[in-house]
Symmetry: none
Subunit: 264 residues, 5 copies
Amino acid sequence: MKDQSCGKLTRLGRIFDHQSGRALVVALDHGLVGNLPGIEDLPSTLDKVVQAQPNAVVVSAGAMSRLSPTIRGQCGIILTIDTFLSSSIPRSDAMGEAHRLLASAEEALALGADAVKVFLIGGQEDLDAFADNVVRVGQTAQMCNRWGLPLIVEPTLWGSKVAREQKNDPELVKHMCRIALESGADVLKIPNPGPEVVTQLVNDTPCPILIMGGSKVDSEELMIEGVREAIEAGADGIVYGQNVWQRDDPAALIKKLSRIIHSK
Amino acid sequence: MKDQSCGKLTRLGRIFDHQSGRALVVALDHGLVGNLPGIEDLPSTLDKVVQAQPNAVVVSAGAMSRLSPTIRGQCGIILTIDTFLSSSIPRSDAMGEAHRLLASAEEALALGADAVKVFLIGGQEDLDAFADNVVRVGQTAQMCNRWGLPLIVEPTLWGSKVAREQKNDPELVKHMCRIALESGADVLKIPNPGPEVVTQLVNDTPCPILIMGGSKVDSEELMIEGVREAIEAGADGIVYGQNVWQRDDPAALIKKLSRIIHSK
Amino acid sequence: MKDQSCGKLTRLGRIFDHQSGRALVVALDHGLVGNLPGIEDLPSTLDKVVQAQPNAVVVSAGAMSRLSPTIRGQCGIILTIDTFLSSSIPRSDAMGEAHRLLASAEEALALGADAVKVFLIGGQEDLDAFADNVVRVGQTAQMCNRWGLPLIVEPTLWGSKVAREQKNDPELVKHMCRIALESGADVLKIPNPGPEVVTQLVNDTPCPILIMGGSKVDSEELMIEGVREAIEAGADGIVYGQNVWQRDDPAALIKKLSRIIHSK
Amino acid sequence: MKDQSCGKLTRLGRIFDHQSGRALVVALDHGLVGNLPGIEDLPSTLDKVVQAQPNAVVVSAGAMSRLSPTIRGQCGIILTIDTFLSSSIPRSDAMGEAHRLLASAEEALALGADAVKVFLIGGQEDLDAFADNVVRVGQTAQMCNRWGLPLIVEPTLWGSKVAREQKNDPELVKHMCRIALESGADVLKIPNPGPEVVTQLVNDTPCPILIMGGSKVDSEELMIEGVREAIEAGADGIVYGQNVWQRDDPAALIKKLSRIIHSK
Amino acid sequence: MKDQSCGKLTRLGRIFDHQSGRALVVALDHGLVGNLPGIEDLPSTLDKVVQAQPNAVVVSAGAMSRLSPTIRGQCGIILTIDTFLSSSIPRSDAMGEAHRLLASAEEALALGADAVKVFLIGGQEDLDAFADNVVRVGQTAQMCNRWGLPLIVEPTLWGSKVAREQKNDPELVKHMCRIALESGADVLKIPNPGPEVVTQLVNDTPCPILIMGGSKVDSEELMIEGVREAIEAGADGIVYGQNVWQRDDPAALIKKLSRIIHSK
């Protein structure tokens, strides 16, 4: 991260731990596509999370102004400025795929963000939908450069042209990461492709890589083990949501994960 | 509402009563999709309504400049800046679903608005129509942040993919409210989901919730009883239209409702 | 005021009473040139004033964001967006005369103002200082037209070229009022030139005229009598500061003045 | 005028008579530098003037929004968008010379103007003051070209470096007219240099020339005779103020002048 | 601070401790007017300071990009965006007084600042110099409102019209604080006026007050005692420079001061 501009270096220092260089991030932006158990009362869940001192949280730009009195700058703040919708009826069967920007990097800055996060979604039925998503990443990256605001990109293969079993295919994940990088990502957030691919990606990728949690894993132990593996494989941290706040004691879990992530 | 910016705090104080913290709002923007008995002579109906001192009225941005000599800043002013059209022949059978912005937050501000209102419509046949509606809410929210103008969002399930009997389904209503919030709503206007769901939503939602009236309920007593129930369940006020100005004495009714809403 | 644009008409309706058409305004912007007994603890004094329900208050644009939780839109808000300094040592002997704009009409709008107020100061030693002041009024007026924001101008003869005994000379006051009007004022705030001149000015001037209070008059009775005379002479209201909040019970006085101003 | 752009041609058609090609304009913008008998109650004087159907009136941009209900588009509207101040005490002995723009061509357009008028003042003590005035004319001209708004320039020799007896010197007047033209004037408004010079100027100048009235001439007959002479010498019309509305029956006079100007 | 906008609330949370609500800030921006023992090797001094974990540091906007790899977002960052020069030969006898802005709030934001700091200097020989300084504060405040960036103002009486023994006169300090507030300050940084005046100011001032250190006090014990007194009198923290990094062990001192400031 040493080669970043002044603003980006400063703001990344709010997200990545100064000792370990790694980050434990908790995502709470799922409401963009509807309610979810665990964050129905978002300010209350957020409060518990912030008290446990993760390095940063991810929240939507739209909800940020109401959430700021809870966060009060106590941890890094990553704003999700886009949305990916698959149905016009929330939390229903997929009808298609629609990615949109809801806010700009400038607006995120005025809200006090330390970084913005956008999707780079591959595999759409409609090539233009993919191309327009790439443009949204590229243009946000240029605006982020202007303002010294780090850009976190989450490359996925959620498009319906990619079969379910291929969505975590290491080669495809690596391709998507590369496009994200070439489009201007400062940090990548990716699904866990397993320790080997993590190591490969970390070696090949000139920017930090954060592993995401996805849907809730039943066994907390297995989930924690996955985090340990990823970190040992070289990951720069994690962005976990449901796997944190859908458990009984999110605060205790955050402290446990923190030790794993920052220990080495 | 304490955590709002200077401009939003000031303008919300023009809509919500300083003692009770609640709002009695009368909607008169129905002409955006055609004529309706009771508002055929809009300035005259509006005059009666304003004389009865509701906290605020809802009118369309397009008609506002002609209506301002009637309102003269005597109550809060909420401008509807979008439209939802279902037929190219007014008040005819639905042909489809089309949501559009007619004015911007900046234009509403120049007209003297205290807040703007937009729809967030779910259940469209076309996913892009839904996604574009979410974008209109999100981008209006950012502009409203810039100018200190409160944004009222009305989440509905008017899209034809949602069966008539499901349009007030509590789970769907809650999902839609959540999307509205994450997209930047400062206040929600929702159909009445019954006292229990109102209480749940009020507890979970970090912003005021206003209950809408919908089509005229035959019995005035039943209608009033519904308002009382909603307020007792925790609602922050109402936005009623036809149920006010399609009755014989709107002014008397407004005063009656005002006592119910602001008494406690 | 009937002929104003939509935004101006709406916002003037927040300052002038709907029944009497007149305004009781309390000024609390004196801190722009240093402390003053009675407003040392500004939020507390402001709170008392607002509770007594004047039509509007005048505060500085710089202090507004901290004052908004006290005002909460409970009365009209007029923002002073300029300053007139006569010494580089606060509240000391005059060294010269310096007028400056500190904020723009757009910024006042974002803060939730119902109007902005600027000085038009005559009698400077330096003609350019006068001309630049006229320009600040004229250009602010144009911006106010664009945004539907009323402009209140306070013409004075504070420049040191005008002898003390001439500063309220009726002819000079009328000239200054005229220049203020031609430069775009929507409302005038003037020193009390006595009932006869008030009547003349009101007859000749196609905009509301508010009488200012100036330094504290010892006798409260005399002060109140002056207000009564001005209102009977045709003034559209008053803008009083020290004469309100340097007394023992500002709230009681405001209510007394309110009856005088709005009774007829 | 044939070679004008679409917007300028259309708007000049609101000022110059379609039959005679000439214009009778009444100026009422004198309040920019203080009060004056005859326009103390400006709306009332303006009303009488407009009823008598001159081709156009000249009013200040600042006062225009309040005057529009009187004019209501019944005649051409020329907005004065600058001011020339000679003292910081209105209508007092000259202290110096200060020219300023108070509004822009764009703002005049938004107010409904058919043309804007600015001074081009020669003879200042300070060369920079002259140069800055030329710039204001030149830049306004460019803006007027962009928007199709005619620019009327009034070249004068009011600067104190020019002796009183030289202020109407034909050679100097012709020089100033030429600079005005080269700076972008579409129409010139000049003091009456006598019939011979008028004829010369009209022959040499590729734009309409309007003769101004100046201070009140005691004899109405002499004054009328001067107008007749100027028109016969080729002038394209007049811009008269005090010589119209400081007389007993401005309406009758306007009709008399109109016959003279448009008869031939 | 509860009433701040989202961006300001978030960024103030980077400067004021979440538990105590107070701030220990170390200033290192003295190089703007020349070299000084203790910060000749600025990155090295800054590194020691940052390691000791103060709440924030003050550095110049001009040097920030070179300092960011040392700070890395490990503490709050306040950028000094102006300069006050008294001689054209650095660190020489005063020739006059010149205040200038070197950077804007927008530029500070792009560098990653959590707040900007400007002087409000009273007592200049030239009134215009004072008025222009007030304008710089006022206009920076408006820009800071737009971007959610806190504005720290340091009112002083450094102008040569104020005698040395009056520069900390409590009445003058209070006047200057008041002007700073009305011009838009979010936080004040003031010389230590003694515990009684601190208590008065804290009670009257609706924003945090930080006490500055000034020139090095010989006795470290006395200096520490002064901090303890100010905090006990109600100050919201300190901004100390030479008194920190001109001592033998700045890091140890910072930890000692931290205990005093955050203990209660």
